[in-house]
Subunit: 338 residues, 2 copies
Amino acid sequence: MQSRRVTIKDVAREAGVSVATASEALNGKGRVAASTRQNVIDVAARVGYTANRLAKNLNAGRTGSLVLAVSPQPFTAQGAGLQPEWDIEYYFRVLNGASLRAFERGFLMSMLPTHTSSRGFLSAADGLVVVDPSDDDPLLAEAIRSGRPCVTIGRNSADLSWVDNDFATGTTSALAHISTNGASRAALFLSETSSSYVRDELSAYLDWCSARGIEPVILRSPGPRVDEAEPVIRAALASDDRRFDSVLTTLDTLAHATERAAMALDLDVPGDVQIVSLADSRYLDYGLRKSITALDLHPVRLGEVAVDMLIEVLEGNVERRREVVPISLNVRESTLAG
Amino acid sequence: MQSRRVTIKDVAREAGVSVATASEALNGKGRVAASTRQNVIDVAARVGYTANRLAKNLNAGRTGSLVLAVSPQPFTAQGAGLQPEWDIEYYFRVLNGASLRAFERGFLMSMLPTHTSSRGFLSAADGLVVVDPSDDDPLLAEAIRSGRPCVTIGRNSADLSWVDNDFATGTTSALAHISTNGASRAALFLSETSSSYVRDELSAYLDWCSARGIEPVILRSPGPRVDEAEPVIRAALASDDRRFDSVLTTLDTLAHATERAAMALDLDVPGDVQIVSLADSRYLDYGLRKSITALDLHPVRLGEVAVDMLIEVLEGNVERRREVVPISLNVRESTLAG
DNA sequence: GCGCATTGCCGAATCGATTTGGCAGGCATC
DNA sequence: GATGCCTGCCAAATCGATTCGGCAATGCGC
C-alpha cells in the first residue's frame, strides 16, 4: 500500500509552476527568479521529492551504473558463483571504497566477473574499473574496442587512465626498514610476474641489490596459494648455503607460507629470518607466532580515486589521467629487532 | 568516436515494421505473425541490438537495481571508506553470488553500507538484501516502513522473507563429528549473541549437552577480533580443571585465536584439544600448525537464493518466503584422530 | 513614447523502451 | 451478402525527468 512516488509533476503543481520551471529551479539551470526557485526547493523538500535516477539518466543518455571487475583469475567460475581464492580482502576493500564514492556521486557500482558474457555487461554500464588488469583481459579489450570509458587499478599495456600505488618506493622503503634491523640480504618471493605491481616490485628490488652490489635472490612459487608456496620457501630456507636473511613477498599468502615454513624448520622470526609482505591483510596482524610487517596499499583509497577518475573521463572533462596513491608500512613483529 | 547505440527504432526500420511490432516481437507479447517475429529477431541479432535497461525500467516503474547491505558493525566508517574488520570473506562470497545472479536476471546489484543516509539510498533501488540483520538496523527499518521489498540472510525479529543456513543441524553434525574422534565434551566459544546464527548454534549446543547430561561450557570473547579473543581462550585452556576437550567457535577469528592459544600453551591440536569453526574461511585451510575443520555455509548460494527470493517478492509473485541452505562440514586436521 | 534587450516562465520535444486501443482485411457463419 | 470475429499490425500515450525555443512583461536608453 505504498503511496505512489513523488514526481516532479507533483512538485510543479504544488508550487504553482510548470514542470520545466520546477526542473530548472531544482537544477540551478535556466533563468528562474530567486524567489520562485526558493519556493520550488521548499516545496520539493516538504513533499519529499527525489529525482528518479532512471529518467534523469535516460535523458542524459547514460545508465548511471558503473562496473568493477577483477582481472586476475582468483575468480574462477565454480558452481554457480565466483570463488575468489586469494586477495579477497584487498579486492573487497577496493570495492568498498569504489561503491561508496560512486554512490556519493550519483552512480551505483556493481561488481561483476571479467568472464561475464561481455555484451549485456558493457551495455549495462557507463564505465568500467578493472583491478590488476591483465593484458589479455577479454572484457577490458571489449571495453576499449567499443570506446567505453575505462580506468584500471594497476597498469597494463593499453593506454588507459589508471590509478596505482608507488610500488617502487614502497618496496624500497621495506628494504630500507629491514636493513636498519640488520637484514642486509633480502630475497624476493613472488608467484607470477604478469601484474604491473609485481614487475614494479621486482625492478625496485633489483635496483636496490645492484646499487649495493648484492646478488639478488628470486624465489618463485608455482601459484599464489599457501600450499603451493610453502614447499618452495621451505626448501630455500633449509638450504645449506642460504644467501638471504629476510624475505619480501608479493602476496600475503606467500608471507603466510614463509612463516609456516620458518616455524616448521624451527627458525625464529625475526631472529633467523625477517618477513615483509608487500601487501597487507587482516591475517598478517595475527600471523602464526608473530605478526607480519606489511605494506598498506590503501585499497579503499584506490577504489575511491578510480571512481573519481572514471566519472571525470565519462563526463569528458579529461582524456586520460594517472594518479599515484602513496603506500605506508605497517611495522609488526616479523621485522622488529630484539 | 563510438557509433550511436542501436535502438529499437533501428531494428524496426530495418525490419520494415513499426516500433510497437518490433517490441512485441522481441518480447513475445501481443499478436505478431510468426514470420514477422522471426524476421525481427533476426534483424535485431544482426544489428546487435540490446534493449536499454533504463528505458525498460522507467516504463516498468522500477530502477533495475538491487542493494546488498551488511548489518553488523564490522563496517565502521573510518576515513573515507568502509573498513570491514572481520567476516570479510564470507560477505564477499555472498556478494559474489548475489551480484552474478542479479545480473543474470536483469538487475544490477550494488553493495552499500547500512549507515548510508537512507533517503537517496532506498529510492535508488527496487529492493534490499540485508546480511545478518540486527534488530535495530536503521536502513532495514526504513525499508520496512516504506514498504520496499526486503530479504534477509539470517533472521531478525521482523516478519520478512529470509534465507538462512540450518545452523542447528550444522552445529549438531560438528558435535557428532568430533565425538566420533573421542571428544566428548565440547566448549562453545562465541563473541556476541545478537545474530540469529549465534543463537541457533547456542541452542543446538545446549540441546546436545542436555541430551547427554553434559554440563555446557560457554566461553565468551569481548569482541570478534583475534587479539580480543585470544586471552579468553588461553585462560580457559590453561585452567587447572579444564572441563572441555574441544572447542566450537562461532567465527573463524575465534578458531584462529584458539589455535594460537593452544600453540602458546604447547597443547597439541587435535591431540589435546580439537577445534571446529562454525564458519569456514580460506585461512582455516592453512591454520597455524594444523588446518582447521569448519562448517561450509555456502555463502555464494546464500547470495543467489536471496536474490531469487527478492526478485520474486518485488514481482509480486509471493508475499513472503523462507528458504534454508544446507551446511556441509569440511573436515581438516584439527579434528583428525591420529 | 518607440524600439530593443533582458527577464521569467512555460509548452513541447526528447531519451528508448512498453502497452493500449483501434484500424483494416480475411475468413467463417447464417 | 451482410454480420461478426480473428489476426496482424501500428499510432499514440506513457514512464519521469531535461532542455530548447519562444512568448510576454518589464526595464532601459535616447
